[in-house]
Amino acid sequence: MLKILVCVKQVPDIDLVKMDPETGNLVRDGVPSMMNPLDMNALEAALRLKEDMGGEITAITMGPPAAEAVLRECLALGADRAVLVTGREFGGADTLSTSYVIAKAALQLGSYDLIFCGKETLDGATGQMGSQLAERFGSSQVTSMSLIKSLDMEKGSIVVEREVEKGVETIEARIPCLFTVEKTNYQPRLPNYRGKKAARTAEIITLGPGDIEGLDAKLIGVPGSGTIVPRIYPPVLPEAGQIIDEGSAAASAVKLCAILAAEGRI
């Protein structure tokens, strides 16, 4: 049976995160969390493959206990089991240590033929997790994968399309393979009522640091991270430009056109 792993992340809706002008700190209170949008495309790609070929989808995430919500979304949409990796010790991890923990946890529960990740997250936006997980799993990888064309389990290979700057490559990859998925062809579906209802009470496998065998404490959380963020600061804004105010939007627009014409721009 085809075994599929989908890696997802709960992220804050960053468009709603505000910065405290006094302290320079981010204000996340009351900001809703959601499944990282591009992870929805990864899940969709996995679901369609399962519909065609059969198989079992495991969804995994690392985060605070509340991140369980995105796993229930995955279950509602058709994932078969869900794994939450959680614990204070994992906090403050960069991609180096996160990829280590997720791979360790996932491999403890089984092996995978195909692994799907979103292309990048809304909050960190490093786009590194896919490649780093592939290294941890020892799998081949195709990043920016936009379409699965065919899967040949006997031959152990999969043919996909990959979006690069100047066009689209057709690539044959050996299984196991990890993909980061483009949204082009995998618009996410909506959950149905039955799915949502079942997901509400479904069991979620929860793994803490003590539950993952052979986990090296030096490689998790902050100690296991290669990068740190010693400081953040508000962006230095340039001086505001000249505001044109002629009383109404239309009048200001006319004035703007006159200025642009005088400067030879239009």
């Binding site: 180096l96 490649s131 780093q132 290294e135 290669g226 990068t227 963020v229 230095v236 000249q242 939007a249």
Partner: protein, 334 residues
């Protein structure tokens, strides 16, 4: 690991159809300046054959030397041979930092060999500063959708790996050094161990409307756009001015415009003569992608950050301003 044992800064020279990617040259130019501060040597790493004329361009950016890698596995880009080459080279020569252009392929293999070397990898820094006290490079980049600037460092591990987006740094060659060192390495990656094979390539349809990097006039619409139906007037304005339309990330997320039109650090970098921005809040990672001669912003919120980046601004309804501009330009021309 003692980070003081790690010296010199490397740039991966990426090729595409026998030509060196501009981002590799941009990196050489910027890192020349950094190496002058740190005292490191700037080394260009070339995998496989590269035309001499192209290598001259690299030399002209002021590199101190080249590491030429010969062997099997480099005929076409693949994660495995490329990640392996950098792992082997890094273990042998112990560079302090390795920079890779943030192209689709650069972003594919750099994080992978970073894990293999058990070191940290940063992405999309906009500024690089050397901290003399710690000996670390500060990678400075917008974070959380551009609401803050974050300083990222690797306090312990080496090499420091960074991918940098094309267009982030300027191509300003410092001129060739009198003495340029050449190191030749043979690293064979067995071709049969490459687990991905390129079966075909379809070039993107050459829709010139989707190539905005060199457009002289850009009309950029942001999340203030009500719906797809409202887009028509912005297309008309762009057409009137002989320009092209662009957008910010939320419009791509909303499925209204394609990714190729997304302007900013994680999209396209643009350098138009005239940039007209409508309904854009002005997050740093968007405006970082705009290098305009004249910048106009329209937003209904007077406190929108975009007004800090414009030459001229109008506080008001974006659709009304756009409609009035179209009417006025038509009137002026009639």
């Amino acid at each position: 690991m003692d980070k003081r044992d790690y010296k010199n800064i490397w740039v991966y020279i990426e090729k595409n159809d026998e030509q060196i990617e501009p981002v590799s040259l941009e990196l050489c130019c910027e890192l020349r300046k950094l190496c002058d501060v740190t005292g490191d040597k700037l080394m260009a790493v070339v995998l496989g054959a590269c035309p001499e004329a192209e290598l001259e361009k690299v030399k002209n950016c002021g590199v101190d030397g080249f590491i030429h890698v010969e062997g099997t596995g480099y005929d076409y880009y693949n994660t495995e041979a490329y990640a392996n080459a950098f792992t082997v080279l890094s273990e042998k020569y112990r560079p302090s930092a390795i920079f890779v252009g943030g192209t689709v392929n650069g972003r594919d293999f750099a994080p992978r060999f970073a894990v293999r070397l058990n070191t940290g990898c940063t992405s999309d820094a906009m500024e690089l500063v050397y901290d003399e006290k710690t000996g670390d490079i500060e990678f400075i980049e917008p974070a959380v959708g551009g609401k803050i600037m974050a300083v990222i460092t690797l306090p312990v591990l080496r090499p420091q790996i960074g991918t940098i987006r094309p267009g982030t740094f300027r191509y300003e060659p410092a001129g060739a050094k009198a003495d340029v060192e050449h190191i030749y390495e043979r690293i064979d990656f067995p071709v049969e161990d490459i687990r991905t094979k390129i079966l075909g390539f379809t070039p993107a349809e050459s829709d010139s409307q989707l190539d905005i990097s060199d457009a002289e006039v850009i009309v950029c619409v942001g999340n203030g756009l009500k719906d797809e139906a409202s887009l028509g007037r912005y297309r008309e304005l762009a057409e009137l001015l002989g320009g092209k339309i662009g957008c910010t990330r939320p419009l791509f997320d909303r499925g209204i415009l394609p990714y190729k039109l997304q302007i900013g650090q994680s999209g396209v970098m643009v350098k138009p003569k005239l940039f007209l921005s409508f309904g854009v809040s002005g997050a740093v990672n968007h405006v970082a992608g705009v290098d305009a001669e004249l910048f106009v912003a329209v937003n209904k919120r007077a406190d929108a950050q975009i007004f800090n980046y414009c030459d001229y601004g109008i506080v008001g309804d974006m659709d009304q301003v756009c409609d009035a501009m179209i009417a006025e330009i038509k009137r002026m021309r009639s």
